[in-house]
């Protein structure tokens, strides 16, 4: 019962040690919490390295950074943003096109810590089943956020966006925002596995489209070593992305994980005792045929 494992990664811990088997997880948490701390240093300690929040910020008083998703909604709402915001959005977009769009999800987004915790608890408590949401629902929701901005003339999605609510809440004050975060935690824990990040979140959907052809990818470089322990499938927040790269399908795919749903979180690298995975560039795909999307459609 591979999929029912309570301790995915146990083999990797035995081989690589606890830190070796959690290397990328630890780095990601340092990144997520570190960014939060950078934003908090100003208001709490008066050290202004970066101010604002994930929607838009100003680093070192010169570098503007703007979330392209929220800016597009503002444009659809009929507004013409200033140059500062546009430049900031281009900088952010270029960054994610390089490092993988959904790296935003796993390396920056604070909700990821909440949903990862829920997923971890699901495994530990042996919770299975529950409702299923279409993994494409997020794209429908992405479209509906654009539509609402267009129709209402306001950035409607920002009224309920849990990513903004959590990050802005931690930096500027939470109010009753914890309620929504708790709801997402319970949704992922009790209602459906990885429901929020894996099926519903339009922010992740936007960044996956942004990073559709991103440079940095995970590669199943040594897939010949795979012993079918299934740990990577159990731990992966987007487990459908692994198969085409890991298992040489009849169509001939891999070893690079080309699906833009891969969040570049690196947990597969961590939990693999056989060191099958590593970070690589998308050009190093040895196979000529690329079926990035075919697999997504099938799912």
């Amino acid at each position: 019962m591979a999929a029912g494992k309570l301790h995915p990664g146990a083999d990797a811990i035995a081989v690589k040690g606890w830190f070796g088997a959690h290397k990328w997880l630890i780095l990601r948490r340092i990144s997520q919490v570190g960014i939060l701390i950078l934003f908090l240093l100003g208001p709490l300690a008066g050290i202004w390295i970066i101010k604002g929040n994930l929607a838009s910020s100003l680093a070192l008083d010169v570098l503007p950074l703007t979330d392209p998703y929220v800016l597009i909604q503002s444009v659809l709402a009929g507004q013409r943003p200033l140059e500062t915001a546009i430049i900031g959005a281009i900088i952010v977009a270029v960054f994610y096109i390089l490092v993988g769009g959904r790296a935003y999800c796993s390396w920056i987004c604070p909700v990821n810590i909440v949903t990862d915790t829920a997923a971890w608890l699901r495994i530990k408590l042996g919770l299975k089943g529950g409702a299923t949401f279409s993994r494409n629902a997020r794209f429908w929701l992405l479209g509906s956020t654009f539509l609402l901005a267009l129709l209402s003339g306001t950035i409607a999605w920002e009224l309920v966006n849990p990513v903004s609510i959590l990050f802005r809440g931690l930096v500027f004050g939470m109010g009753m925002g914890w309620g929504l975060i708790l709801a997402i935690f319970l949704l992922d824990l009790l209602v459906s596995k990885r429901a929020w990040c894996g099926s519903l979140c339009p922010v992740g959907a936007f960044y996956s489209l942004l990073g559709h052809t991103s440079l940095l990818r995970v590669s199943a470089a040594h897939r010949e070593n795979c012993n079918d322990c299934m740990d990577c499938f159990v731990i992966c927040p987007e487990h459908l992305v692994i198969n085409p790269a890991l298992k040489e399908l009849p169509t001939g795919t891999g070893p690079i994980i080309l699906s833009s749903q891969c969040t570049n979180c690196g947990r597969c690298i961590d939990v693999c005792a056989e060191n099958v995975f590593k970070f690589d560039l998308r050009f190093n795909n040895t196979q000529t045929t690329s079926v990035t999307n075919k697999h997504e459609v099938l799912s």
Partner: protein, 279 residues
């Protein structure tokens, strides 16, 4: 699975997702509509576009909040009655100090705060209104003038109108009067009001202001503009004037007659003594 069964499954699942997303979209749409209602005591930063445009332009980054040197601004949190994440302030708590360099506007990356506004006196965050004349102690004949004196555009945005105190019969009332052509809505007056509950409050301009129809023409304004009366020459006013005075409508109004030209003396004692003389 046969082709038609596959197609059936695909269609039902698509319909299910579409319906779910449709319901969520509809609910968010309704909530969006409601969230436009800005409470009257929540004031947007200086230079904010009108509320509808502001909610499309403001991306809720909080950079204006960060650059406000007086911690006036805050971002609405879940539970506030203001659209989530947007900046506002409450005048009674911390008013806008009207910085000359307007750092909040400079910080705004999107233009939700109008970068074209370079003089803080042009800000129209709201309009102060002496909203309770029963509570305002100036109307009771007591000296206060705190709102008048605290006003950053002292004497222009809030003036003092001297009126007769009918109760005592011999004192003046110093009534604060807000002038909408100068008031920025900074809220300093509302915060400074000495009462338990402020008698002067900053209101949204559309709530606070009346508006005449365009067809109104005020004779005295039109006369000033034209340089002369538009309805014919002014007749000399001759009726019901105090004795010994004349009236110049074009100029100074009531004019006392030349001294010496009066049938009775300037000195009231002469009247009294004259009576005695007549005996």
């Amino acid at each position: 699975m046969t082709f038609s069964a596959k197609r059936r499954k695909f269609l039902t699942e698509t319909a299910r997702t579409a319906a779910g997303v449709g319901v969520a979209t509809l609910m968010l749409g309704l909530y969006t509509h409601q969230s436009r209602a800005l409470p009257a005591d929540a004031i947007r930063p200086p230079g904010a576009l009108d509320e509808d445009a502001f909610l499309g332009a403001c991306i809720r980054c909080g950079l204006c909040v960060r650059d406000c040197p007086y911690d006036t601004l805050s971002l609405a949190t879940a539970g506030d009655d203001v659209a989530l994440g947007t900046p506002f302030f409450t005048a009674r708590k911390i008013p806008c100090e009207m910085c000359q360099d307007i750092p909040c506007i400079k910080a705004c990356p999107t233009g939700a705060l109008d970068h074209g506004m370079d003089n803080i006196d042009d800000a129209r965050m709201g309009l102060a209104v002496v909203i309770d004349q029963e509570a305002c102690i100036a109307f009771q004949g007591l000296r206060c003038e705190v709102c008048f004196n605290i006003c950053p555009i002292r004497g222009e945005a809030i003036g003092l109108d001297m009126r007769h105190n009918k109760r005592s019969g011999k004192h003046a009332l110093f009534i604060p009067v807000v002038h909408s052509d100068a008031c920025t809505g900074c809220g300093k007056c509302e915060q400074a009001c000495i009462l338990e509950e402020s008698a002067i409050k900053v209101m949204p301009v559309n709530l606070a202001k009346g508006q005449m129809q365009d067809h109104y023409r005020l004779g005295w304004d039109e006369k000033k503009k034209a340089g002369e009366s538009l309805i014919g020459t002014d007749d000399k006013h001759r009726y019901n004037l105090p004795q010994g005075t004349r009236y110049d409508y074009e100029g100074e109004g009531l004019i006392p007659a030349e001294p010496g030209n009066v049938p009775f003396s300037d000195n009231p004692l002469d009247v009294l003594n004259g009576h005695k003389e007549g005996l």
